[in-house]
């Protein structure tokens, strides 16, 4: 179908046009149009998903292709929806033309990744996505962007080597053919013969892909780029950066399953009830949840808190993916969707906060719930969603992951996942307390509520959070189509797994009833009288507004003390040190080899002659 390349290319073209035409109003319109076209086309193509939608083109000897199936449609929709809202947000927060170009370029890249039909298209789109997002960070902070770029490039090149190895051995690059080659290989091994790929090679390819996708997804211990990169860029863009681009890593892992599942299972076997290669992914995912969560609780900068939170949530998805059953993979994809929704919403809120107040650290915020009620309402929805409180979508997906993981008898993973949800509470309360409640610093008195584009964008994501939470079956039924069987049964209101049930509508109704009963009791009492924040119980101390009454800094100091030992281990420092030693080695090598001394150079010639002689004779 010819719509497929339009879906992928239109953001890039729009971005390029927006960059060229520097007129303020026009470029916004072009930019938004560029992100709206993929969304519209994807919705239009939905009914025809039953037939295979493909588009191939021959470029310089490579057969590049795009494909739309249920799985890729779901991911592309995530990209399109969150991308669209992020671009809407950028109308308010973007500072110059470059940002439009690169934000839209990264949207193109990620759509290309999701819809790729062969390894080369995948790689090209991956690199475009990485390059564009890197350029978004470069302007703000060179160190953060270089860290991101190097880690991403190392991952991308690892993927390139893996692709090259696959190409060298199988001679083909398209997904269906590669998948068939691996399955045949697995069967040959099962019969006892030797396959195309030896065990070491399979392990190598697996490791390389793990590196590549792990970096992009922000998996521990490759997550070190994420906090800096997510914070040091336009925060509306981070909604897309964290909400969508990290899903490219997740999609890569799913691709690993699609392409190499049989082979990896045959080579490495099972660990308890999960395939070994999957258990590794899941375990690292669990560690990601814990590390990301605890570090999020200890942050002082609002952007960094959400960056670590993003890392932590991706851990959930990885756990679900690693466990490897149809249910757990569906749960993981569900969580990918809900994470994109609530994390996108969170970053738009952060963008609004920074845009309106100009502050980024918790110690400068306070008491904004009154000044920005709409934003606060959105934040409330997002908080409930991330914390996993029914009836919002975050709960549905987290519940699915819990059920899927524990059902497979994997207690350690189950414990990690549980811990993760509590830590979510913890850092969210930190966010809420420091920003929305309590005493308001005097320089925030004139803060206005969200500007219109951001408000619309937040509204879209907030509404989706609620809708998919109350009617979780809508998403579940879509996901079932990927597997072609009712993995999650039930209607649109209910998720029925056989060993556990959750009904969104019922819960909502009863929650409303419960709150109504409580409200009745409340209103039975006398009326209330509003008092200012200085009129609180202070053990007899008279206080004024000059005192700081809110704990905004170092809120979780006890946690930091308890974790003091573990916090000393830092992979960030490790990578930094490795890079520094490479640079120093480079300097030394250069001084030795290219030392400017022509006699030394002449000796080099002599050495080569000697080697040549030794080889010949």
């Amino acid at each position: 179908m010819n719509e497929l390349p339009i879906i992928v290319i239109s953001p890039l073209v729009a971005g390029f046009l927006a960059w060229l035409l520097r007129i303020r109003g026009v470029r916004e319109i072009i930019g938004v149009a560029g992100s709206l076209i993929p969304l519209a086309l994807l919705i239009k193509l939905y009914p025809s998903l039953g037939e295979r939608l493909e588009f191939t083109i021959n470029v310089a000897g490579f057969k590049l292709g795009l494909m739309l199936s249920h799985l890729t449609w779901v991911f592309s929709m995530i990209a399109a929806v969150v991308g669209f809202t992020a671009i809407l947000g950028m109308i308010s927060t973007a500072r110059d033309n470059w940002e439009w170009l690169f934000a839209l370029m990264s949207l193109t890249g990620v759509l290309g990744v999701f819809m790729a039909y062969d390894l080369i298209t995948f790689f090209i789109a991956w690199e475009i996505m990485t390059f564009a997002s890197f350029m978004m960070v470069l302007k703000y902070n060179r160190h953060a962007s270089l860290k991101y770029f190097i880690l991403s490039i190392v991952g991308a090149y690892a993927m390139l080597i893996a692709i090259g190895l696959i190409y060298a051995k199988t001679g083909t690059l398209t997904f269906p053919e590669v998948s068939v080659a691996f399955t045949q290989d697995a069967m040959r091994r099962m019969m006892g013969g030797s396959g195309l790929f030896t065990k070491t090679e399979t392990m190598l390819i697996y490791g390389l892909f793990l590196l590549a996708f792990g970096v992009k997804a922000g998996m521990f211990p490759l997550h070190v780029w994420a906090p800096d990169a997510y914070s040091e860029t336009n925060q509306s863009y981070t909604a897309m950066f964290s909400g969508v681009l990290s899903k490219a890593g997740v999609y890569g892992f799913i691709l690993l399953y699609i392409l190499m599942y049989g082979k990896l299972v045959v080579e490495f076997g099972h660990f308890r009830s999960a395939p070994t290669f999957g258990y590794i992914i899941a375990f690292l995912g669990g560690l990601t949840i814990i590390v990301g969560g605890i570090l999020a609780a200890l942050q002082e900068d609002i952007r960094k808190l959400f960056a670590y939170s993003s890392i932590s949530q991706i851990g959930y998805i990885l756990v679900g993916l690693g466990v490897g059953t149809a249910l757990s993979i569906e749960a993981a994809i569900y969580h990918a969707i809900s994470h994109a929704l609530f994390k996108g919403l969170f970053f738009l809120i952060v963008a609004t906060l920074i845009y309106r107040t100009g502050k980024t650290e918790f110690k400068d915020f306070g008491g904004l719930a009154e000044k920005m009620p709409y934003t606060f309402a959105m934040a409330f929805i997002a908080i409930l969603s991330l914390a996993g409180i029914p009836p919002l979508v975050g709960f549905a997906s987290k519940w699915l992951i819990f059920e899927a993981v524990i059902h497979e008898n994997l207690p350690i993973l189950g414990g990690m996942v549980f811990f993760g949800s509590a830590i979510g509470f913890v850092y969210l309360i930190r966010f809420t307390y420091a920003v929305w409640f309590g005493q308001r610093p005097s320089d925030l008195e004139g803060t206005k509520d969200a500007p219109l584009p951001l408000a619309i964008a937040m509204g879209i994501l907030g509404a989706l959070n609620v809708v998919f939470g109350v009617a979780p079956g809508i998403v579940a039924q879509e996901l079932n189509k990927i597997f072609d069987k009712p993995v999650i049964a039930g209607n649109i209101w209910e998720l029925d797994l056989g060993f556990g049930r959750y009904n969104g509508l019922l819960l909502t109704i009863w929650m409303v009833i419960g709150v109504l009963i409580a409200a009745i009791v409340y209103f039975l009492g006398a009326n209330v009288r509003r008092v200012p924040v200085t009129d609180t119980y202070q053990s007899g101390n008279p206080i004024t507004m000059e005192y700081n009454l809110t704990i905004r800094r170092n809120f979780f100091l006890p946690l930091r003390e308890v974790m003091a030992f573990w916090l000393k281990i830092s992979f960030d420092r490790l990578y930094h040190d490795i890079w520094k030693s490479i640079e120093d080695f480079a300097e030394t090598a250069r001084n030795y080899v290219y030392n400017g001394n022509v006699q030394a150079y002449a000796w080099y010639l002599a050495i080569i002659l000697v080697i040549l002689a030794a080889m010949g004779v």
Partner: protein
């Protein structure tokens, strides 16, 4: 009509020796004259290119009318046609640049050396005789030595001296290798050498091949024989550096590849290939690492250029058709990118008075078009898709893995990561550090933008260039075809 192709050699030669006459007439005519001659050369090269690619047959010129192997012949096949065109175009651009960039006296000698450099490289690529190759190689080398020292600074003199010493040793060994082969086969014609390759005494063949490769490796800037290159690149005048990087070294690599594949029937071929792979990989690694902490941007790009050349050499030393195709593609892309880079850096050097890192701060505000061009070229070199180098790098990596050289691929990719770091540091410095007022950028900026546009164009649609490159690649790899095309007169063994 095919004889027009011989003008490719004759024109620069004659015009070079016409320059002193011109000097007597009017000194200020010399630089425009240079532009004119290179323009004519470009026209002829374009015509030759069209001829060869539409008819599919190589143009063969017999010097003096004598049929080979008695006489010397020029063999302008697909590869040669492509590269002669590239040489001509780059020379033309550099001639325009020289209008502003080169002001040191004596300008007439500069023009002569310029034309002779162009001639030497063209001749190296177009010739079909191994001794003729040597002659042209020497012409190239000697003019290069002189041009390196042209700026008359102490640094330039030292760089030139290093170049002379190392280049001289290399050339001598090359000559010894040629002599050995001549003694063994009795012929200097490349096609006939290919035919007779497996009938030579294996030891002689091996040693001869080894010495030839060794001699060419100095010119082709392979590790560790390329130590002269950073100094030479930095000290030479800006247009000359661009020419070095764009085609002089390519001519050396071409000769290396051509002779390597011609003599593939010689025994010990595969071990020489392996040695070349190792040398090429080390070239890439050490060059990129050395570029990391450079303070002078011109030197940094020089190291980068050496690294990329190592990559081309790696592609050629794989011994497969895919490798050769990838290598040729990278040669084309690299020529465009490095021309742009050295042109831009030279331009900044003239406008800002130097090429150290500090001069590049705030370039985005002072000379935005130039900065944009450098950004495009930098991103291209790193290998980002939508730019041309991505396709050639991809092909090279795939070919390397296909040929089984896993560690070479890993090391090369590691070097790419390092490359990304220093290019992006430069880009950051240009756009986000420092500031300044806008300077007027002239014609040069226009050329830069055109080159950048070509880079992006090839990046987005590589198919036309790829088709040309495949034909050029098979020209080198498919030796049987080569031999068939040259009408050898049967002469004794």
């Amino acid at each position: 009509m095919n004889q027009v192709a011989s003008l490719l050699i004759a024109l620069p030669l004659i015009s070079a020796f016409f320059v002193p006459v011109l000097k007597q007439i009017n000194k200020s005519l010399i630089k425009p004259y240079l532009v004119l001659i290179t323009l004519i050369q470009t026209g002829i090269a374009g015509w030759v290119f069209k001829e060869v690619y539409t008819t599919g047959k190589p143009i063969i010129i017999y010097a003096g009318g004598w049929r080979p192997p008695i006489g010397i012949n020029l063999y302008i096949g697909h590869f040669a046609a492509l590269f002669v065109l590239i040489i001509a175009v780059v020379s033309f651009i550099m001639a325009i640049f020289s209008l502003k960039a080169v002001t040191t006296e004596p300008i007439d000698k500069y023009a002569m050396l310029f034309l002779l450099l162009m001639l030497g490289a063209t001749g190296m690529i177009a010739t079909g005789d191994i001794f003729n190759l040597f002659v042209f190689m020497e012409i190239t080398a000697i003019t290069a030595y002189a041009l390196t020292a042209y700026n008359k600074t102490g640094e330039a003199a030292e760089a030139s001296m290093k170049y002379i010493v190392l280049g001289g040793i290399g050339s001598s060994f090359f000559l010894v290798g040629v002599a050995l082969l001549y003694g063994a086969t009795g012929t200097l014609n490349m096609a006939q050498l290919a035919e007779l390759a497996n009938s030579i005494n294996p030891i002689v063949a091996q040693v001869g091949l080894a010495l030839i490769i060794f001699g060419l490796a100095v010119e082709a800037e392979l590790f560790p024989l390329n130590a002269w290159a950073p100094d030479a690149y930095q000290a030479a005048p800006h247009p000359i550096t661009a020419m070095f990087s764009a085609f002089v070294v390519k001519a050396g690599i071409y000769a290396l590849a051509r002779l390597l594949y011609l003599l593939q029937k010689a025994s010990g071929w595969s071990s020489i290939l392996r040695l070349l792979v190792i040398m090429a990989t080390l070239t890439v690694v050490f060059a990129e690492l050395s570029a990391l902490r450079q303070k002078d941007v011109k030197r940094m790009i020089a190291y980068s250029s050496i690294g990329q050349v190592g990559l081309i050499a790696l592609a050629f030393s794989l011994g497969t058709q895919a490798g050769v195709d990838a290598g040729v593609f990278h040669m084309v892309n690299h020529a465009i990118v490095k021309t742009l880079l050295f042109l831009a850096i030279g331009y900044v050097g003239i406008a800002m008075g130097g090429t150290t890192m500090e001069n590049f701060e705030g370039l985005g505000k002072k000379m935005p078009l130039t900065a944009l061009a450098i950004t495009v070229a930098g991103a291209a070199t790193v290998g980002v898709p939508l730019f041309n180098v991505f396709w050639s790098k991809l092909r090279i990596i795939l070919a390397t893995l296909q040929a089984g050289f896993f560690w070479a691929a890993v090391l090369v990719l590691f070097a790419s990561v390092v490359e990304a770091v220093y290019y992006f540091r430069l880009i950051h410095r240009m756009w986000f550090m420092g500031g300044g007022i806008r300077i007027k950028e002239g014609v040069i900026a226009g050329i830069l933008v055109i080159l950048a546009a070509i880079i992006i164009l090839i990046g987005v649609d590589p198919a036309p260039v790829w088709n040309i490159v495949v034909k050029a690649g098979s020209d080198i790899f498919n030796v049987a075809n080569y031999v068939k095309n040259v009408p050898l007169v049967g002469v004794g063994s």
